[in-house]
Symmetry: C2
Subunit: 583 residues, 2 copies
Amino acid sequence: MRTLAGSLRKEHVNQEVTLKGWVQKRRDLGEIIFIDLRDRSGVVQIVFNAENSKETHAIGDSVRSEYVIEVKGKVVERDGETVNPKIDTGDIEIIVSDINVLNEAKTPPFTLTDDIDISEEIRLKYRYLDLRREVMQETFKLRHQATQSIRGFLNNEAFLEMETPMLTKSTPEGARDYLVPSRVHEGYFYALPQSPQLFKQLLMVAGFEKYYQFARCFRDEDLRADRQPEFTQIDIETSFMSMDDILEMTERMMKKVMKDVKGLDIETPFHRMPYDEAMERFGSDKPDVRFDMELVNLSEIVKESGFKVFRQAVENGGKVSAINLKGKADDYSRKDLDNMTDFAKIYGAKGLAWLKVEEEALVGPIAKFFSEEEQAQFRSMLDANAGDLLFFVADKKQVVFDTLGALRMKLAKDHDLIDESKFAFLWITNWPLLEYDEEEGRYHAAHHPFTMPFEADFDKLDTNPGEVRAQAYDLVLNGYELGGGSLRIYQREMQNQMFEKLGFTKEEAESQFGFLLEALEYGAPPHGGIALGFDRFIMLLAGRTNLRDTILFPKTASASDPMTDAPSSVSTKQLNELHLKLK
Amino acid sequence: MRTLAGSLRKEHVNQEVTLKGWVQKRRDLGEIIFIDLRDRSGVVQIVFNAENSKETHAIGDSVRSEYVIEVKGKVVERDGETVNPKIDTGDIEIIVSDINVLNEAKTPPFTLTDDIDISEEIRLKYRYLDLRREVMQETFKLRHQATQSIRGFLNNEAFLEMETPMLTKSTPEGARDYLVPSRVHEGYFYALPQSPQLFKQLLMVAGFEKYYQFARCFRDEDLRADRQPEFTQIDIETSFMSMDDILEMTERMMKKVMKDVKGLDIETPFHRMPYDEAMERFGSDKPDVRFDMELVNLSEIVKESGFKVFRQAVENGGKVSAINLKGKADDYSRKDLDNMTDFAKIYGAKGLAWLKVEEEALVGPIAKFFSEEEQAQFRSMLDANAGDLLFFVADKKQVVFDTLGALRMKLAKDHDLIDESKFAFLWITNWPLLEYDEEEGRYHAAHHPFTMPFEADFDKLDTNPGEVRAQAYDLVLNGYELGGGSLRIYQREMQNQMFEKLGFTKEEAESQFGFLLEALEYGAPPHGGIALGFDRFIMLLAGRTNLRDTILFPKTASASDPMTDAPSSVSTKQLNELHLKLK
């Protein structure tokens, strides 16, 4: 019987054990060789003593890092001074009586420690080695625990885990599909699902009432650090539940997983913040509320001020807001502050105004434009004290929000204002149902075209579509959108109306979503749900910053896998069978 | 608060409840209307009485089958004679005081009962209605239970649930891949995985030791009743475990799921039958052992007999075997028996000989060729008594096995010899490692090229590859292959040798499997695993005969979905982005 290395303690002293695992580290003191033997449970020190057996010692002498070995030996207590309190097994060691080399190993291309400094390309090429590092092992154990915790919760709530298809139909709405050519149907393609949205709604029509799935989803979009071509979402749909029911249930789920995985008691209910308020106060629809530095709307104060830039912004229907970086005025030279205009420009702002707060006055190039009374109002509204630094943006509403929202995050990171041990959950509610696309001159669904408006807003669908609010909600954690959901439209008439608003012709709606529209005619129950990005959630739980560290075999930014070399060329025979030619 | 319809019992009498669900059935007795209200938990009878409220009665009068309604009412005990013992809620009914129609429903295109007789095409087109039928609801509840039971077992055994990629690399070995064109890498393709085989092996190299996944797999092959383009397998891989360990663990897993899902105590260990024995006794590598009718090898007896056909079959290196259909001789006319030759021909046999057993003699066209002594031996070896019917095939070994194996199954079904309540598990072991492909003049891997041979057979790899046995095993249930696995090759040298035997050039091996070969050089542990077809397992557990009844949204035999119309045409823009042209 094999014993796990990491399980050995003082109480096992004098036991004969068999261990199997990897050579983590080897210290050769001549007659005595120490090896740290690693397996999935941890590490234990094993000792080869030439006095006991020359043969065993010789083999111990020949093994190298990452060799796979099997050893038999006796557990002995370590001498006081050699106890290693850094590892769980540090009170004991194993005196090896027999060793068997199961497999050899070349020297790995990088050291398998937590703090490595090599390119991600190399890490991904040798992913099977990268994954041996303790931080990676821990991340995927955590991922497993989170998976089971969530499943346990949902099973307990009488949800059924159900599998929806991967070979589905392409729809032009939303992101770009990954396509799969059909061999049997010449010129036709399947699409890999961007989400199981339609299938989960159909499962509600089918009467299952409570569905969940850890669903693999696909989007063929250009990648960023927090995007992958395939990702996993916790996909949930229910019938006959209100928005409150769904939010409350999700909160209990989060409470459980935070307790199970992190040992933390988080407070519920989560604060619910309307979309407009989130934008107004944080300049973001996924605010990080672990720190303050909120946006303050100064439009009323500056609309008749002597500063034309501010005055005109308000006159033109825009606004002026500011944030207060407390106590850091001295950290910035005038040149530093001028340079920050470049940052503001990324978000479309024409400029970034600033004022340093001194005991007596506000100081900076724009100070002269404001009366004493206006300056006093700045101080009071921004809670400004000597040493503070104020940043102002005057522009269209969205630009003000985007710029100050991003600046707020940048300053918090630069000055280490965020308590990284905190997990701050937040609901964003009252989303706009539709967004006007100036380029295309039509409305787009802000979430997706199956989202239910608030009943009170039904009338506005015709008169003022931009003001209709959706029964939709996003769950935000530490400034990341964990996911979101909505109640869905469940009556054909309203779904028709929605497609019309979105500029679909009857034929387009029919050809793309005819089956859903038809399903709504056969007794569709009121339903809704939520989908949470599981990879991102794990990233936050594990305290990582790169989504790729939470996925076993991720793709690079160019959507390739340096290990297997996927994607790769295929044979002409394969292409012929699929009725395809390369262009 | 909503109450579930199926949960109501006598003890709830006098309670006021709110129910939400579907109108299953409606009986209109004028002043009184009875409706069977269905939700996910079951059915309850609700009563509209015009005496109580004309308004409510009028709405009750207006609803039709599959309308979605919300009702409030009081639970009352039914009169003795109206108690319905067929349903769990049959002791009570609900006197409705209020009703709200949540959604209307057109008349479904077929009745939503268990015994429907409509084309599968229509069932799949309206899958959301088909799934409302009780038998389908029960199947997917069972699937959920089995999923959780298996997960529970594996979690408890310290396995980690891990997700391997769907966008992988195409390899020419094995079945045909589904391909996914890359937008970023012109002319390149991903492949959807036929199984996570290589990734799970790499997870062992990465040191995780215990992996599992309910893995979606894809094969672009022509479909049969028990094949789907995408299917789910329980995918398991372990390090440092012996074949015995893996078999024993799988048996415990099966024992648990059979108990959890079916309430059955099945016996373990499962019988282990070498491949050769399975072929010899049952003519199949996945024998149904719920009944006997075993093949009996008569070669020794007939090799010098007067029947040239039999004698020559043995002389040419083939064999003669027979099965005994007990007590059914009178069911078959001579013409019936002659017609069965057509069945035998499907499996490549030139003919099917038969003899009826009478008290005094064996009777049939070939009886005259056999001496009394030979006939006595037939009787004794086949345990033949008056009324039995014997079938003989004389041919090459494989043809004899295939024909009699198939005939054995057909006869068992025709004569209802199988106890359908039984679950007969069986291991098939000692598989050939390699199969010679006469057409291509080379060996193929019988399982896959990573399968480990038995150590005792290592030498034969060079001298007699066809005789090398693999450390591989299949799990058979009721005549179906549930799945299988093997120990894997974990040393580069042997893997090189294996690719060589399979006719790979060094370059081919390198370009297709270079990453695996390289991984084996960095301390790969001994490892192995198993993969079980989950859809098929559910089919057997649920007592269904069609794999499509165990998959929520399956494809038709031509790999299409009549509901969504997938696959479908895509836009030229989409094709252009993928650098593709239709031929």
